[in-house]
Amino acid sequence: MPGKNFFRVLGLLPLYIPPLAHAIGLVYLFGNQGLLTTGLFGLIPGWNIQLYGANGIILGLSLYCFPQAFVIMMTALRLTDARLYEAAEVLGSSPLRTFMTVTLPGVKYGLINAIFVCFILAFTDFGVPQVVGGSYNVLATDIYKQVVGQQNFSMGATISVFLLLPALFAFAVDRLINRRQTSQVSAKSVPFQAKPNPGLDRSMLIFCSLVVLFILLVFVTIVFASWVQSWPYNLTLGLKHYDFSTVGGGGYTAFWNSIRMSLYTAIFGTIVVFIGAYLIEKSKELQWLRSLNYFLSTLPLALPGLVLGFSYVFFFNKPLWSIPFTHYALVNPFNWLYGTMALLVIATTIHFYAVSFLTASTALKQIDPEFESVSASMRVPFYKTFWRVTLPLALAAILEIGIYFFVNAMITVSEVIFIYPPTLPLASVAIINMDDAGDTAAAAAMSTLLVCTSLGVRLLYWFLTRGLQKRTQAWLAR
């Protein structure tokens, strides 16, 4: 199929778009005055999908979850063993049968992870339902109402405990399946290279094009929204909304702060996640501790950012922890972190830990433990194996995680809105504030800048690491 890199980059585009901008895009397309609803203001027949309500939520969340599932599935599909396909072909099995018996079981782990990740994300997200949900009530928006509307933190936290239930369930299922999961890439495995198949390739091309087209449509609408004078009555185009000096939120200072924070998060987060996943997947001792760690690693996924945010305030802003039943208190050794860039980075890392962790652990699971056994028997120290074998094999996943952290840190709002200090305004928070003040076009303009930055970083990253990728992933080609 042609244009794989193109689809790979654009498939992740929804990840780069701030949630609020997503909502702006959807409303401008499908809302009561939307481009599609009114048929470009009466030029073509309109198409009203009744955005506000369940339709809007499902559409919005599908867009939002798509890249998350995409990252996990891509990692899972990348590492498949060609020998199985060769065997299937030699044994004369039909393509369908091969798909059912080789492909699906091979990516079973990734597939189930992707399903659960999407389910939990959709279950806990309040950004989308808040804007396009109409009066369709979901549990996650209740947290917003309790915390922001009524400052009822304990009720907000209680509801979020309910949100954790599906995460617990997912964990249990995951463990069950995981027990039967065997690694896909053994020391003897040969990487799979898809053979050209005109019919299939063409239909896949059409499918991918449609998906990407829809994603692009939303993005183009956002860019358009940043150019128009006053939607929808004065559609004069101009770039004046890119001058943030007349609107609040911190303007370009906030933009640079966001870039810095995202960069730190990408570096720090990737290191922490990969080491965490490595220790869990590749160490042998302390099974219970590894299980616990695994569970805790997937937990942040189910924690709404808002709850995470105010928990951070409660924990880090307390100078003293009182010890119950005594007059003594423990000096909070982490208090100095409050109101610093470091805390923003930590909070963001934790908020996006789960998907990164699942990506890393999927990649590591697929690497045969035989590598370690062989190294051990040859008395190669584990760090050498890590450096020479594991790291290069998992490099693609590691790079993916870095990008994932970067783009998410650029647009995240819910957990940082409580803890960003006055001296460090952030672009993503600025977007909310600009929109709140009625400057929708400026909010769209800032969103466009963020998306372009993320895309730019993505391309730069790809360009810079192309050589590296070629070398370390050479074994994937034949």
Partner: protein, 349 residues
Amino acid sequence: MAWVLTFVVAACVTQQPETSTSADPAAITPDNSSSLVVYTALEDDQIKEYLSSFKTQHPDITVNTVRDSTGIVTAKLMAEKDNPQADVVWGLAATSLLVADQEGMLEPYAPKGLEQVQAQLRDPRNPPTWVGIDAWMSAFCVNTVEANKKNLAIPTSWADLTKPEYKGQIVMSDPAASGTGFLSVSALLQMKGEEKGWQYLDALDQNVAEYVPSGSKPCKLAGTGEHTIGVSFDYRAAKAKASGEPIQAVFPTEGSGWDIESNALIKKAQIKPAAKTFLDWAISTDASKKYAENFAVTAVKTDVPIPEGYPADPLAQMTPKNDFNWAAKNRDRILTEWTKRYGSKTNKG
């Protein structure tokens, strides 16, 4: 190893101070009296304008503002209760400050020039814990283009909104998520009496297309024609009109619910003198003149003409039946009842 750990833990234990609000001086950032942390819910675009006057008068004081919507600022204040980061709150809803006051977070302070502040726009106690700078009230944003297209008359009263012709045309703030929404609901209940009030809200609910979790959003949705009528507040309506949106601001004839943008001093171990300087400035005639360019009712009367889009006598528009203490006391009950009646409403498209 164990003795090291013991030592570290022991070093961290300290005598608990008398009050939880007085922070360990060593744990907080060094006290730099010439820099202030100000939490505010004022509109972002206004802040720069307002602060320029403060900066010329007090060039030695650095003001770091944290600006978020009313709900977020209030939630932040409450969450940071044990170790407040803010020195001063500036322009936050009086009803939100009442919540903070109940938690004992505010330090009463009578700023210079307090005698000029209108009596109903400040805390009646002396010294007051909060002092208002201006008032805002509920108003409808009506999209004239859409109303024309749909052949709808412009509503002029709360009663008009329940007419069958407006079915599905109205968008209103959810009082459980937005202070503006609560202000309208609480004023309606006080104006009409509870029983009649709920009857009215039932009838209104028949016409409401959706309740949104923001005070300004109904007006924005009306401005872009997503819905025809948005029940929102005055400043937003006036601003939408000024920025070229086809919005007509309607002030209901029965009167509007209202709230006060107010200031307060945060109670903490070391209250900076600069914080008091700021509060003095915040009700000065200089500052009030700037507020008056945006708001019709200011706590300190000025000679600035009432901005465009407001009623000629804004004080008369504000319903006299607006008891903040009643609202604060009954808030939970009202919201529970409201959510029971309208919260689980399924989508009407």
